[in-house]
């Protein structure tokens, strides 16, 4: 990581395009919003969490190509898993979608120079992808809340099958992600 001077940070802020400002704003706002949704679901605030997530989000906005974003998502999901909340609440898919938008904004901001202007077609494509992933999330929420209402007993076979699916998916993702594309000679 190259050390930056204060002037570098000032230049970074001044040189950012309007689109980058929007992406960075989403980076800061969305995780905080997911905690606000949690507060709305349970009726109480988590000030310390808000402060931590806010700081991590700002760090992510300044350096999107780092693992600060992972910390943000971990803290938010841990909070949602820790609180006593009915899975059928509508705030849950809203929070999941907020974290999805956060992830997409960080990923797009990290792949672009701060002063660049993104073609509209790219933005539309990313918006469409986020919409598809959000739709799948809502579907999962609907299925989970439906199963929760039925209060079914535990099933070892189903649990094992679910683990197998998750394991296979993990192995598949790992294999495709770390695969070498072969030698890359200078062109």
């Amino acid at each position: 990581m190259t050390p930056r001077t204060l002037q570098d940070w000032v230049d970074l802020v001044l040189d950012a395009s309007a689109q980058q400002w929007v992406l960075r704003a989403l980076t800061v706002v969305m995780p905080v919003l997911s905690l606000v949704f949690a507060a709305a679901a349970i009726g109480r605030w988590w000030p310390a969490g808000l402060a931590v997530v806010g700081l991590l989000s700002i760090a992510t906005a300044l350096r999107p190509d780092t693992h600060f974003a992972l910390g943000v998502v971990v803290v938010c999901t841990w909070h949602w898993a820790a609180i006593e909340v009915d899975v059928a609440t509508g705030w849950l898919p809203a929070a999941a979608s907020a974290l999805l938008v956060f992830h997409a904004a960080v990923a797009l901001a990290a792949s672009l120079p701060t002063g660049s202007v993104v073609p509209t077609a790219v933005l539309m494509r990313w918006g469409g992808r986020v919409g598809v992933a959000a739709a799948v999330t809502v579907g999962m929420w609907a299925a989970a809340s439906s199963l929760e209402r039925r209060d079914l007993p535990g099933n070892a076979v189903l649990t094992g099958a679910a683990f197998a699916v998750v394991g296979l998916a993990a192995l598949g993702i790992r294999a495709r992600s770390l695969r070498s594309t072969g030698a890359s000679p200078p062109h």
Binding site: D65, T66, H67, A69, L70, V73, V74, C76, T77, W80, A81, V87, L92, P93, A96, L99, L100, H103, A104, V106, A107, L108, A110, S111, L112, P113, T114, G115, S116, V117, P119, A121, V122, R125, R129, A133, V136, T137, M140, W141, A144, S145, E148, G154, T159, A162, F163, V166, A169, A170, G172, I173, R176, S177, S180, T181, G182, S184, P186, H187
Partner: protein, 430 residues
């Protein structure tokens, strides 16, 4: 080869984040029956699977180009990078870092291309704002897969662009001095076949009949002819003092340093005389003396501008410069472009004038160069300027006109003085 691939397809922190949250979150949700966590991990799992499924399989092929590589200062050229083989690539990015004397459009040198097919062309405009040879630096080229999960990076390095000095508009109204030849567009001091009227005189054997002035002949009752000056070309020797650069250079749109003024003035004078059909040679005095033999025509002008553009002020030294660039043709018109701070150049002008050649010194020291926040430096400058004033006076007493470079018409007084001096005997030191 200018395109150097520095990375293959690599996963980004975004993909690591999505895979970790998606897989671990789902596993914990299943194991401990936490449906809230399953819902929160679902979008990340979707993104991770989507990204892995659409991972690019082939290495892109890039072809960088900077064309034209030679422009006049102030003009723009285009850097472009054509990427092909972009299967499953979402967008491509090029980032050219800012460089001194180069203006980029877009301003920050960042351009993003949408990869609709498997090819994309990234291009940005590079405007040179100062003469010289500039390097574009290392342009970063990045291809990004869907969800920003994988990136391929390359560097396009060492694209030089040469900015030829853009001479200001320059013209000289005065005709110039004597020369050895009898071809060209300038009025010679000698009578002969030419265009410029000299006198009406009695007919002499050998005169051409078409030169007879019949109206005057009828009036005088004796044959009279219209005499003309012979036409000639001239040889202009430009001597550029590149021993140091004084003042502040802001490029073509701002203040000019002494070297800026010298180089641009040399280009302007060369362009003026070469387009008239005269011969121009160039001699650069500095740590790396360079000479360009006399020549004429547009190709010679281009060569001369290239030599001027190759002056690198970063390598200039304050050590005693070499003024020995070979003999100067008799009858040449020598123009020394200098800020007149280095004594060696002043001595050179004296020496050339002492050989009986027509010499003019064009003073290119910018105004206000002596102003400095450091009082000692400012005082030193004032002392040197006083000495310089005396050296200028000494040059003028030796018959060497010293004129300030002010663009069009700067040299008219000098050329007029030369025309008056035609035929006047001069003492030559041997």
């Amino acid at each position: 080869m200018s395109l150097q691939t520095t990375m293959r397809w690599r996963l980004s922190p975004a993909h690591a984040r999505a895979a970790l949250i998606g897989v671990v979150g789902t596993a914990i949700a299943v194991l401990f029956r936490v449906p809230e966590l399953l819902v929160l991990a679902t979008p990340f799992a979707v993104v991770a699977v989507w990204s892995a499924a659409t991972r690019p399989t082939a290495e892109p092929v890039g072809r960088g180009r900077l064309a034209p590589a030679e422009v006049r200062e102030g003009q723009g050229t285009t850097w472009s990078m054509s990427l092909s083989g972009l299967d499953r690539v979402d967008h491509a990015v090029a980032l050219v870092p800012p460089r001194q004397w180069l203006e980029l459009t877009p301003r920050l040198g960042a351009v993003v291309g949408d990869v609709a097919d498997t090819e994309v062309r990234l291009a940005l405009t590079v405007r040179t704002i100062r003469w010289g040879r500039h390097g574009l630096g290392s342009a970063n080229v990045v291809a990004v897969s869907s969800w920003g999960a994988f990136r391929w990076m390359a560097l396009d390095t060492d694209r030089p662009v040469t900015a030829l000095p853009l001479p200001p508009v320059f013209h000289a109204e005065q005709s110039t001095h004597r020369g050895d030849g009898l071809v060209g567009v300038n009025r010679s001091t000698r009578p002969g076949d030419g265009q410029d009227f000299a006198a009406i005189r009695p007919f002499q054997p050998g005169d051409r009949l078409r030169r007879i002035n019949w109206r005057r002949t009828q009036r005088d009752g004796a044959l009279r002819v219209t005499a003309t000056h012979a036409d000639e070309d001239i040889h202009v020797e430009l001597v550029v003092d590149a021993t140091a650069d004084y003042g502040h250079s802001e490029g073509i749109d701002g203040d000019a340093s002494s070297l800026d003024a010298s180089v641009r003035a040399a280009g302007a004078i060369a362009e003026h005389f070469l387009t008239r059909g005269d011969r121009v040679s160039l001699r650069i005095i500095g740590s790396r003396p360079v000479s360009l033999r006399p020549g004429a025509g547009s190709r010679h002008l281009r060569r001369l501008l290239e030599v001027l553009a190759a002056i690198d002020r970063d390598t200039l030294t304050r050590r005693s410069p070499s003024t020995d660039g070979g003999p100067i043709d008799h009858g040449s018109l020598v123009m020394v472009l200098s800020p007149l701070v280095a004594p060696a150049v002043v001595h050179h002008a004296h020496a050339v004038a002492g050989r009986g050649l027509d010499v003019a010194v064009i003073d290119t020291l910018p105004d206000g160069v002596h102003r400095d926040e450091d009082r000692a430096t400012a005082l030193a400058w004032r002392i040197r300027l006083l000495e310089r004033h005396g050296e200028r006076r000494a040059l003028q007493r030796a018959g060497v006109p010293v004129v300030r470079w002010r663009g069009a018409g700067s040299l008219d007084p000098f050329l007029r003085a030369l025309a008056r001096r035609r035929g006047v005997p001069r003492m030559v030191r041997t």
